[in-house]
């Protein structure tokens, strides 16, 4: 197809504006308001297009403009049918044209009625740029194009509500992770390993470590034997599937993640753990042996815990861990948000809630200090599983991260089993855009600060640090994870990358990011059965498994050159940065 130029698009737009709609509308289609339910009665004069006011919102205000080529379009309607946002509608247009037939010029004014694809002007049906129309178009006649001159930010707050969306922060230039390279290569005196031939011990502990001199061990007949209780520890794969709830995700997507997790454990030998998110778990999973692969999250809304507690007597195994969510990198200081659009009957059942917006409070009620947090939350969670399950905490990276971490490390009860820190590039299913783009703290600097603080105390590794927030953002999760591990992380958690492997098209340049609308075009972040049907559970699980297997090999491909077969936690001498400021901040070598 001949691509349309901007000029052609503008001309088309003006033509469209002059064209007379061939249909009026008394009752709009729920997702496609411009589609008339009834045709105009025969013989009635077709009304003129309604007046256009400058105050009206228009497609040109939106973040995305639709480019449609009428010459190649075969009017199959696939684009209109597939658009979950109602951003496209089909419209009959009468178009005037001058034709001349015969051998001599004999211009005649005629009109013809054509079927046109139009972009909705109202923001409720704004194009999200998801590109589903392009995907389904058999003649490549339509596609969304980013609108550089959009006015979205100034018109979208009409009605007095903040802009909300899902996805990640948009306004962060460059990634420090990409300026970091693995620069210390083993050669000659310390030969590299062979990533394919050597064995690698890629496991990391999730659980509190007791200092060696305080381990409850005694010597008997030249052997060390246990002489007391030790905190529970799980040795797990250093990349975890981060917390995304059923509710935020469709049940099919969540199931795909859980399936992939079980498959990676049972068939691939990778002890990957998945966090449930704050939204409960299906009872079938709670009472199956696969619960051992799940980290159950509790957050301020306690959603789903009614069922979890009721299932406890029927559990056949312990969960991998409990994760107490205090904060989230994408919207630090804010609570969870599940819009009513996504609170479908099955979500109501799992969470034990009515159909309404579900807002987790920004903080855990009744917790006013870190010490209280340790005493109440950790003790209750530990006690609930009789101290057999590690209990970890998840906070948003912040200028205050080191203080929080420091307090937890010094907890005399040795009760905190992990410190999950989520950075500003973390994703979310729904948040106010102002928070997403303007609040939060990058995770790398704070990861480094916390690790070095532990080093200064000689307590590194006692509470494993897991870093998250934007890991895998460029698709290279192994590289991101490896660098974070060298900077001091015991492991990393990632989430959005797994949705993307399953089909999510969202990105940090404004594409889609509609997780909050319940209209996810790929069936991942919606509870609408018609949309969820778009996601093939098995194919999604397979994609996630494949990604993990590739990542595992890539991780080894990074460990082999530095000559290590065990995780190089804190081995920052393996890294260099080509950004001097980043190198100085992270205390690694600058190289050019």
């Amino acid at each position: 197809m001949a691509a349309m130029t901007d000029l052609e698009v503008d001309q088309q737009s003006r033509q469209d504006a002059r064209a007379r709609p061939a249909g009026g509308s008394s009752a709009a289609h729920p997702r496609h308001p411009a589609i008339a339910k009834s045709a105009i009665p025969a013989g009635k004069r077709v009304p003129l297009a309604p007046p256009v006011y400058v105050r009206d919102t228009h497609a040109t205000d939106q973040l995305w403009k639709i480019r449609w080529n009428p010459e190649t379009c075969i009017r199959c309607g696939a684009c209109v049918a597939t658009c979950t946002f109602g951003a496209l509608h089909a419209q009959l247009q009468r178009r005037g044209q001058t034709v001349s037939a015969g051998t001599l010029p004999n211009p005649l004014d005629t009109t013809e009625v054509i079927l046109a694809v139009r972009q909705a002007n109202d923001l409720a049906h704004a194009c999200r740029g998801c590109g589903m129309c392009e995907k389904v178009c058999p003649t490549a006649s339509i596609r969304p194009v980013a609108n550089a001159h959009n006015r979205f930010a100034v018109v979208a707050r009409r009605g007095g509500s903040p802009i909300k969306r899902g996805g990640r922060a948009h306004l962060i230039p460059g990634r420090v992770l990409d300026s970091i390279k693995v620069g210390r290569i083993s050669q000659m005196t310390d030969p590299s390993l062979d990533a394919a031939r050597h064995t690698f011990d890629l496991l990391t502990p999730l659980g509190r470590s007791i200092p060696a001199d305080k381990l409850p061990l005694k010597v008997e007949n030249g052997k060390l034997i246990p002489a007391g209780r030790m905190p529970p520890v799980r040795w797990i794969y250093p990349i975890l599937i981060g917390d995304m709830s059923i509710g935020a995700l469709s049940w099919r997507m969540w199931e795909a993640l859980a399936l992939a997790t079980a498959y990676l454990n049972e068939e691939c030998g990778l002890p990957v753990r998945m966090c449930s998110g704050e939204g409960g778990l299906p009872v079938k999973l709670l009472t199956s042996k696969n619960l051992q692969y799940m980290i159950i999250q509790i957050a301020s809304g306690h959603f789903g815990w009614n069922r979890i507690i009721k299932a406890m007597p029927k559990m056949v195994t312990d969960p991998a861990a409990i994760l107490i969510k205090i904060g989230q990198g994408a919207k630090p200081g804010d609570g969870g948000l599940l819009p009513a659009e996504k609170v479908a009957p099955h979500i109501q059942a799992i969470r034990g809630v009515p159909h309404a917006d579900l807002l987790s409070p920004p903080n855990h009620q009744g917790l006013y200090s870190i010490e209280e947090s340790v005493q109440k939350m950790f003790l209750s969670m530990n006690a609930a599983f009789q101290f057999r399950v590690p209990v970890a905490i998840k906070v948003a990276a912040s200028s205050t991260s080191v203080s929080v971490f420091n307090n937890l490390v010094r907890d005399p009860y040795h009760i905190v089993g992990g410190f999950f820190m989520d950075g500003i590039q973390g994703g979310t299913g729904a948040a106010n855009e102002v928070n997403l783009d303007h609040s939060g703290h990058p995770v790398l600097g704070k990861l480094r600060d916390c690790y070095l603080d532990a080093v200064a105390m000689g307590r590194q590794g006692q509470i494993p640090i897991f870093a998250g927030g934007g890991f895998g953002q460029t698709g290279n999760l192994a590289a991101d994870a490896f660098k974070a591990i060298c900077l001091g992380a015991s492991g990393v958690f990632a989430a959005k990358i797994f949705l993307q492997t399953a089909g999510c098209v969202g990105d940090e340049k404004g594409r889609c990011n509609s997780c909050n609308t319940g209209l996810c075009p790929v069936g991942i972040c919606t509870q609408d059965p018609a949309l969820v049907a778009r996601l093939d559970v098995d194919a999604a699980a397979q994609a996630i498994v494949d990604y993990f297997l590739a990542t595992d090999q890539e991780l080894k491909k990074l460990m082999a050159p530095i000559g290590n077969s065990s995780l190089p936690i804190g081995r920052s001498d393996a890294l260099i940065s080509m950004d001097k400021a980043a190198a100085d901040r992270l205390q690694i070598a600058y190289a050019c």
Partner: protein, 368 residues
């Protein structure tokens, strides 16, 4: 690579056989230095085995400072031996003005105390001397311990030996245990403290290889004990780990192997002592070595140990005859001094074993 060699003998020997072994392995090092620790001494120090022996190299000002500090701490000089150092400029050696080997009587208040208390004071004193002389640039303090003598020098090992007269069979210093290293200087500025073997509180250790977890080891160790200092060589970390495991934690020395080269998780899971091994791995995760390394060490009770890393296996071989057990980087070193031994009995330590040689020269192989 460096070359290392150790002798454990029933009868006292001079350093000559060690030097002969080093000469045989000469292609493996670059003649940039030589260091040696002699234990279970005979010869001139035979009559002073019960009192600490200070080994240092310094300037006259350094010696004065040392004397002041020792007097202040209550130590009394019991015996002083000064080697005759050949001043010939033809020899490749960076001489220090003074080489000090002195026995001191314990301070009055320490004489009746148990050795467990005396030894803490010895370590403290050695560290204080080391720091004081390092600050003033007046010398190097290598060891302060009963029945242990340390010599470290920069230069060609053959010339160093010639300068000190170590080639002489009737050299006045003899010992039943000698550890020595000839250096291949790769990564570090040539400093005397970087030369193996290293000594701390009765533990001697030398190694061959590169510690790829040096940063992890050092970061963790520097808060474990004030005695874990210097870090001029990445091999010091192995000594500190050995000291930490055996001395501070009081674990049987076999667990040293579990700390520096933990079993793979799959193997660990099948072991009956898996819970303990997991705990050790987690608590000591920053003490792994994970590089190409061979270490040879001596424990306070006189036992000698040999261990390797698990993947790259820096070479080491252990040979023996009726009167001597010898460990060396290369078998040619052992052939040089024990040509008539039964070489079928030679041991090439595997990646999952710890070789221990006891005071009766019985060699035990401890599978991890």
């Amino acid at each position: 690579m460096c070359r290392i060699a150790a002798i454990k003998s029933k009868h006292p020997v001079s350093p000559t056989p060690i030097l002969q072994m080093m000469a045989a392995m000469q292609k493996g090092h670059d003649n940039s230095g030589f260091a040696m620790v002699m234990q279970d001494l005979d010869g001139v120090f035979a009559a002073h085995k019960d009192v600490p022996l200070l080994s240092m190299a310094c300037t006259p000002a350094g010696l004065e400072r040392t004397e002041r500090m020792m007097t202040h701490r209550g130590f009394g000089l019991e015996f002083d031996w000064q080697p005759e150092v050949d001043p010939s400029s033809a020899l490749d050696i960076q001489r220090m003005p003074l080489y000090v080997f002195r026995n001191y009587r314990y301070p009055e208040e320490y004489r009746s105390r148990p050795f467990s208390e005396q030894k803490k004071f010895l370590v403290e004193t050695q560290l204080a001397l080391r720091h004081a002389l390092a600050e003033s640039g007046e010398g190097f303090v290598y060891s302060f311990w009963p029945d242990v003598l340390t010599l470290k020098e920069i230069g060609d090992p053959r010339d160093i030996a010639a300068a000190f007269g170590l080639w002489k069979e009737d050299f006045p210093l003899q010992a039943r245990t000698i550890s020595a290293q000839c250096r291949q200087n790769t990564n570090y500025q040539i400093v005397r403290y970087a030369a193996h073997p290293f000594f701390l509180e009765g533990y001697t250790l030398m190694g061959n290889g590169e510690n790829t977890f040096f940063q992890k080891n050092r970061d963790f160790q520097q808060t474990l004990s004030p005695a874990y200092t210097g870090f001029e060589s990445d091999t010091q970390c192995f000594l500190y780990t050995l000291h930490y495991v055996a001395e501070i934690l009081g674990w049987p020395v076999q667990y040293y192997k579990h700390v520096i080269t933990p079993l793979p998780f799959e193997e660990m899971a099948l072991r009956p002592d898996a819970p303990v091994l997991y705990e050790i791995r987690q608590a000591c995760q920053h003490l792994e070595i994970n590089g190409p390394n061979t270490v040879v060490f001596t424990l306070p009770d006189g036992r000698m140990g040999i261990a390797c890393d698990t993947k790259k296996l820096r070479p080491v071989v252990v040979g023996k005859d009726a009167g001597m057990v010898v460990a060396a980087s290369e078998v040619c070193g052992i052939n040089r001094i024990l040509p008539d031994r039964d070489s079928d009995e030679d041991i090439y330590p595997g990646e999952r074993e710890l070789v221990l040689v006891d005071q009766n020269l019985e060699v035990q192989r401890w599978p991890q």
